[in-house]
Amino acid sequence: MPRAHQILCVALAACFGVWWFSDRIDPYLLDVITSIGINIILAVSLNLVNGYTGQFSLGHAGFMAIGAYLSGACTIFLGPQWLGPDGGNPWSQGMLFLGALLVGGLSASVAGLLIGIPSLRLKGDYLALVTLGFGEIIRVIFQNTEALGGALGLSPIPAYTNILWTYGFVTLTVFVVVTLTRSTYGRGFLATRDDEIAAEAVGLDTTRYKIVAFVVGAFFAGIAGGLYGHYKQSIYPTGFDFTKSIEIVVMVILGGMGNTLGVILAAILLTALPEVLRPVAEYRMVLYSFLLIVLMLARPQGLFNFRRPGAKPAS
């Protein structure tokens, strides 16, 4: 068995172990840990698009919204029929949740395909703007879909998300992104980022790489959305706006574009930071944005990026 697969098995077993003892963990701490897990999935999946493939996307919250809404709708509307009148046993609930998450993830990746297509023609700022626009359009559509709660939000979604589900998918996301970018095929993502013209000249289908990155990234964002919905139990369209996308982008930038370990650390730091800063709540966001500017000026390669200084930064 290759080393990556061994690590995957160990990590999944560790998730199971932590979940087994999760009753004994402080509920507040557990809450923060779950949020951290969801943010890791979002940041690592966005890193595939922004960091490894160099396609600057500002619409990740839109994919997350699709996952959250569609998987939430699955458990709310199809759940009672699937589980029967007695509410079902944990196994059938688990199957329902898995199915709902997959529906959410797959619909998000279809949206990713749709957004990936314009990325064939656009780059840099323009692409950022189009993805931002798509994200906002998705949000407005959910806001106007009365069947999904409209502006009032969708609730009550059953609380299926627990530490095992969250960290199981964290492990899976990290595994897929790491093995994908290190595979022979996956080197094409890096080539597309580093020099698109040179990549094309050696026969790589850069268009295809961009679309694959969007589709895979969107899939995991959809999963993260589903986990988020079944964790918060009620979701509102305003929770998936432009600010949420920026939050995820900041995690990727802070971690160092195309550096999965750094991005994971950044997601942990940025999710835990607001909790730590609770005493100065009023100035929290001022401090946060100020740190962001200082960081970009002082360490443009990312806080947790320790590659040699001469290495070409991802742009």
């Binding site: 600057f56 314009p118 931002l132 906002e136 500017i293 970009m296």
Partner: protein, 296 residues
């Protein structure tokens, strides 16, 4: 027919404000090739400066209104130049993405500082300009709308004079065309970029005051949506192109007003982005822009 004209008028006054903000985006993009996300918050600061000045001057006088407008333009110009000096100049020559993130950081900083200093609750903008309604055969003209439209036209005409007829305007065009060559013929790029930021931010400040006159409820997050839409206008007309920004503003303003008046009104905010996506797919250079050729 009357209703059509009425909506057209509403659309023109909204579009005029979008155009004013879009000009700042387009000029900065012209010289530095990046989206200045903080521009929409300079617009917000403009409205707030107008709010505080508006309480100092006597209400409803012409000179009072001019003082408010000029004061907020000056304050925004200084703010824009400060932002450029402190946040963007150190990053000159680094990848666009880093500058973009810094711009987002500056934007968030202005918004959250605004919430701390001004408070998050919306405030009522003082009536600095006497408001009157003129009825014209069923068509209701609000004096504020006319002031917005004519004010915008005046400012655009002034901008056109600066860009086309002055030495500094010529230097701006030179930097936008080719920064290296401009430096070779003796243009001080730093001064020109700083001036461009000042000019664009002053227009955003004027836009903030004019917007607040028409929609008199201001809060620290008021700039986000108009800012995004104004950027869409700039792209729509061809970014870096000044008449294009004006054209984009008028198109988006009227489209949005007509959609807002129809049964699709709740989709109003999505329209701007739908228009943007279609334009970028069909004509990536914008309506008046020239498609750029990529060289290896």
């Amino acid at each position: 027919m009357i209703e059509f004209l009425q909506q057209l008028l509403n659309g023109l006054s909204l579009g005029a404000i979008y155009a004013l903000i879009a000009l700042g985006y387009t000029m900065v993009y012209g010289v530095l090739r990046f989206i200045n996300f903080a521009h929409s918050d300079v617009f917000m600061v403009g409205a707030f400066v107008g709010y505080y000045l508006g309480r100092l001057v006597p209400e409803g006088t012409v000179w009072g209104a001019l003082v408010v407008l000029a004061g907020s333009m000056a304050a925004c110009a200084v703010l824009g130049m400060t932002i450029e000096r402190l946040a963007y100049r150190p990053l000159r020559g680094s990848p666009t993405l880093n500058v973009l993130i810094t711009a987002i950081g500056v934007s968030l900083l202005l918004e959250y500082s605004g919430q701390v200093f001004f408070g998050a609750a919306p405030r009522n903008f003082p009536p600095v300009i006497p408001s009157a309604r003129i009825s014209l055969g069923g068509l209701v003209l609000s004096s504020n709308q006319l002031i917005v439209i004519f004010g915008t036209c005046g400012l655009m005409w002034a901008l056109r004079l600066v860009v086309l007829r002055t030495r500094i305007g010529m230097a701006m065009r030179a930097v936008s065309l080719n920064p290296q060559a401009a430096r070779l013929v003796g243009v001080n790029n730093d001064v020109i970029i700083s001036f461009t930021f000042g000019l664009g931010s002053a227009l955003a400040g004027a836009g903030g005051v004019l917007y607040a006159i028409n929609y008199p409820s201001i809060d620290p997050l008021m700039g986000v949506m108009p800012g995004l839409k104004a950027f869409v206008c700039a792209v729509l007309g061809g970014i870096g192109n000044i008449p294009g920004a004006a054209l984009g503003g008028l198109i988006l303003g009227t489209t949005e007003t007509f959609v807002g008046g129809s049964s699709w009104s709740t989709y109003k905010d999505a329209i701007a982005f739908a228009v943007l996506i279609v334009i970028l797919l069909v004509r990536p250079g914008g309506l008046l822009g020239r498609p750029s050729i990529e060289k290896v």
